[in-house]
Symmetry: C2
Subunit: 474 residues, 2 copies
C-alpha cells in the first residue's frame, strides 16, 4: 500500500518537474469515470433532503441520551437496512443527560424587563431563589480576563463580544472560548453568574446555546440574544446606576442514560478490512430540530454511501457511515460532548492502523467550496484526480491541509487515522446553528445534492484506490 | 372655514380646467416655506430615534395596564414637558389586564416534539391538565369555515394559511380575521382548541401574537411559528396516523387596573380650539419591546411636534400629540384593544366638531411613500401644496383616500372627525410586528427622520391653514 503510494508520488513529482500532466493510470481512469458518474447522478437528485426531512419531522429535537435521540437511532438502523447498506448496527454507550429545565433572566433595576436567554449546555442550575447581582459589562472577553482575582466578587459578568461572519467559521472559532471558559474565568474572579452575547452571526431575538466547560468552579451561565446584548449596552450608556440582574435556571445533568452510534457500511471487494469512515451526528440541541446541525451531515453522507451501494460494483475498500450520538453535550467530565465519537474511537482502537481515513459532514447545509487533504497531499496524483472530479462542482484546491475532519473525527484522528475534509460554505451557518432557527426551512435541497456529489465522488476515489494518506504526511 | 374651503376648491377646479397651475395664495406660500423648513430640518436629524431608544430601553415590553406601561407614561409626561410642549397631561382609564402566563404546545404522537407557540392576546387558559385532541389541519381558513357544525367535535383545529407580503399591509389585512374569529369559528364546529400559522411574513422560529375575539364560545388559541406550521404540514404528509396535540396555557384577564393616554400640545395662535390630533400608542405586546409597534409612532409624531414647537411662531390651530395607552389588548368585551382610543374619543365627544383632523403613526419604522387625505381632497389647493412639500421625500399622491388614520383614530373618526394618513412602506413590517423581534435593532434612524419630515411639514400645512377636511367630503 505504502509502496505503491510512494511510487505514485515519485511519478507525480517527475511529471510536475517536466511540466507535463501525468496521465492517470488505467486503474485511476476507471475510478475517475465512476467518480464522475456518481457526481453527476447526485446532481440529478439524492435522498439527502429526504433523510433530513424524516429525521427532523419524526423526531424533532434530539438531545443526547433522550428518548427522541434513541428513537431516531432505531429508525436510522431500519432505514439504512432498507437502503441495502451492509453490517447495519447500533452501538450503545452510557452518558449523563443534561436538561435545560426552566430558565429566566431579568433586569431588576433600574430598567426592569425580561431578557431573552438560553442556558449554556452543561451549565448548572441556580439556587431556587435565583442569583441576583450587579452586572459588570465587558465589551470583549479580554476585558474580563484582564480583571484581577476577586474583582467581580458577587457580580454577574456580562461579555458582549461579537462573533464575526466568515466562510470557514473562523469567527466562531475565535469566540467559542468565551462560552467554554467564560463561566469558569468569571467565577475565578468572584462572579456569581455569567452572561455572554449569543455566539453566532444572526441578529434576531433568540439565543444561541452550546456546551460550556463543566466544573465545580463555574457559575450559572446563559447566552442572551443579540438584541438583548445591545439592550444591556444601551442601558449601561443611559444610566450610571448599577444594573441589577436576576438569573434563574433549573438546568443540570439528571441521571444516567444511553446514547448510541448507528453504523452501516458498503463492504470493500478487495480489502474489506481497510475502512474509510464518514458520517454526521444524530443528536441535536433542544432548541431547534437539528436540521443543519446535523441531520444535514447524516443526510449528505448517507446519501453518498447509498449512491455507491447502488453501483453494480463494490469499491476495493470498505466505506462506513456513522451516525454519531451525543456530539453536543454529555458527561462524564472533563470532556464535554463527543461521547459518541469517543465511543467510536474506543471501538476501533485495536484496528486503527486499518483505518484509511475519516471525515465528517458537520458544518450545515451550504455548498462545498474546498477540498482539504492531509499535509503533503498537494500535487499528488490522488489530489489532482480528485480535483479533476470536484472542480466542476465549484470546489477549489487552495492548498490548505485538512485541519481535522469534523468534531466527531477528533478521537479517531488522535489514534493516528488521517482526516480529510470537504469544506462547506459556512457564511450563514452561524445565523442558525444552536438556535431555535435550526430547522429544515433553512436548507436548500440543491445544496445538499452538491454536497452528496462531492462526497460520493471523493469517497469512490479513496475507496477504489490504494492511496495512503498516512504516507503522504511522513 | 367651509366657505373659504369651497372657494379654494372652486378656484382649483378652474385652474385645473385651464391647465394652469394655480398660484398659491400669499398665506399658503409662507406656510409652504415654513413646511419646507420643517421638512429640511427633520432630515438633518430629529429626536425620534432617541425617543424610541428611551422608551424601549427603559421600559422594555409595555403591556396594557402594567407597571411598565404606567412608568413609561409617567416618563413621557416629564419628557414632553421638558421638550417645551404645552398642556402636558395624563388621562387615566380603567381596564382589565391580560397576562400571557405559561404556554406550552406539543405533539404527543406519532412524532412527539414541542412546538414553538404563543397564546393569542385575550385568549383563555386551558384547564390545568391541558387540552388534548387530534389535529385537523386546514390549508386555508375557508376550509375551516366550510366545515359543518359539529364536524370538529373534540378536535384541535389548525389553520396553516400564509400571510402575503405587501407594501401597504393588505396581506395582514386579509388574514387577521383568522386570528380574530378563528377560535370562535372553530369552537362553533366543536373544536376544543385552535392553532394558526403565525400571521406575518417572517420565516423564523418565533410566533406572532395579537388580539383574538374574546367570547365565552371561544377555545384556547395559539399561533405557531412559521417553521412549526411547515412541520405540521410535513407530519400530515408523512403519516396517516392521527396527530395528537396537547395545549397548555395559563393566559387570561387578571384583575382590573388602569392605563392612560399621555397628551401634549402646541397651542394654536389664532384658533386654539381647532385641534389636529396625532400620535402613536405607548403600550406594546409582551414579546418584544414594542419598537416598531409603536414606540416608532410615538417618536415620529412627538419629534414632529417638537420641531414645530421650536419654531419662533405658533401655527394658527392647535396640534395635539397623544401617546395612546392600551391599543393592543384589554377588556371589557366585546371590544378588544383600543381602550385608550375609546377613552380619548369619549373625552372629546362634546367638542368633536372642533377637531379638524386626526391621524396616527402605527405602521412601523419604514419610510413614508404616500399621502392619503379624505375623499374629495384630490386636486385641491391643499393637496397640491402638500405634495409640493412631500414629493422630494419620495412621497407620492396616488389618489387613494385615507382609509382611516390608524387604529387609535377609529373611535374619534366615528365621531365625524376626518382622518388623514402618511402611508409607510410596510413591506417588512410583518417580519417583526407582534413578535420577539420587535426591537430597536430593526429600525433605521434615517427612516424615522424621513417620517418626521413628512409629519412636521404636513402638520404645519394643516395647522397654519383654514383647510376644512370635512367640507371636502361633502
Amino acid at each position: 500500500m505504502r509502496q505503491l503510494s510512494v511510487f505514485s508520488r515519485l511519478a507525480t513529482s517527475v511529471a510536475v518537474a517536466c511540466l507535463i500532466a501525468a496521465p492517470a493510470m488505467a486503474q485511476d481512469a476507471e475510478a475517475i469515470r465512476t467518480a464522475k458518474t456518481l457526481r453527476d447522478r447526485a446532481l440529478e437528485g439524492t435522498i439527502a433532503y429526504d433523510v433530513v426531512e424524516q429525521i427532523t419531522t419524526r423526531f424533532g429535537p434530539r438531545m443526547a441520551g433522550t428518548d427522541s435521540e434513541r428513537a431516531a437511532a432505531a429508525w436510522g438502523e431500519e432505514f439504512m437496512t432498507g437502503l441495502g447498506l451492509q453490517n447495519v448496527r447500533v452501538h450503545e454507550f452510557p452518558l449523563a443527560v443534561w436538561n435545560r429545565g426552566v430558565e429566566q433572566v431579568e433586569v431588576l433595576s433600574p430598567f426592569p424587563q425580561p431578557l431573552t436567554v438560553t442556558a449554556l449546555g452543561g451549565a448548572m442550575a441556580t439556587p431556587a431563589e435565583g442569583v441576583t447581582g450587579e452586572a459588570v459589562i465587558f465589551r470583549t472577553y479580554q476585558d474580563l480576563l484582564d480583571q484581577p482575582e476577586g474583582a467581580l466578587e458577587g457580580k454577574i459578568a456580562v461579555v458582549l463580544q461579537d462573533t464575526p461572519r466568515a466562510q470557514d467559521g473562523r469567527g466562531y472559532g475565535s469566540t467559542s472560548v468565551i462560552r467554554f471558559q467564560g463561566p469558569t474565568e468569571a467565577a475565578r474572579r468572584g462572579a456569581v453568574g455569567f452572561l455572554l452575547r449569543s455566539l453566532g452571526t444572526h441578529d434576531h431575538r433568540f439565543a444561541h446555546t452550546g456546551a460550556t466547560s463543566v466544573s465545580d468552579d463555574a457559575v450559572p451561565a446563559f447566552a442572551i440574544s443579540p438584541p438583548d446584548a445591545d439592550q444591556l449596552a444601551r442601558m449601561a450608556a443611559m444610566t450610571d446606576e448599577p444594573i441589577r440582574i436576576r438569573l434563574f435556571s433549573t438546568a443540570g445533568f439528571t441521571g444516567h442514560a444511553y446514547s448510541q452510534n448507528v453504523i452501516a457500511e458498503v463492504v470493500g471487494s478487495e480489502r474489506p478490512e481497510e475502512i474509510i469512515t464518514i458520517g454526521g451526528h444524530l443528536d441535536s440541541w433542544d432548541l431547534g430540530t437539528g436540521a443543519i446541525d446535523d441531520a444535514s451531515g447524516i443526510g449528505i453522507t448517507t446519501a453518498a454511501l447509498k449512491l455507491i451501494a447502488d453501483l453494480p460494483e463494490r469499491p476495493r475498500r470498505t466505506i462506513r457511515v456513522v451516525w454519531w450520538g451525543a456530539e453536543e453535550v454529555s458527561q462524564p467530565a472533563p470532556a464535554q460532548g463527543l461521547a459518541g465519537a469517543r465511543a467510536y474511537a474506543d471501538s476501533i482502537s485495536d484496528e486503527a492502523a486499518n483505518h484509511v481515513a475519516i471525515s465528517e459532514s458537520d458544518f450545515g447545509a451550504g455548498p462545498i467550496y474546498a477540498l482539504g487533504l492531509p499535509e503533503g497531499m498537494g500535487g499528488t496524483e490522488f489530489q489532482r484526480a480528485a480535483m479533476r472530479v470536484l472542480t466542476p462542482l465549484g470546489i477549489v484546491w487552495d492548498g490548505a491541509p485538512a485541519r481535522g475532519g469534523g468534531p466527531d473525527t477528533g478521537p479517531t484522528v488522535a489514534l493516528g487515522v488521517p482526516a480529510f475534509r470537504l469544506a462547506q460554505d459556512g457564511t450563514d451557518y452561524f445565523d442558525v446553528h444552536h438556535t431555535v432557527d435550526d430547522v429544515i426551512d433553512r436548507i436548500e435541497p440543491e445544496n445538499l445534492d452538491q454536497n452528496v456529489a462531492a462526497w460520493a465522488a471523493l469517497l469512490w476515489l479513496i475507496a477504489d484506490s490504494d492511496v495512503d494518506f498516512r504516507a503522504a504526511a511522513e
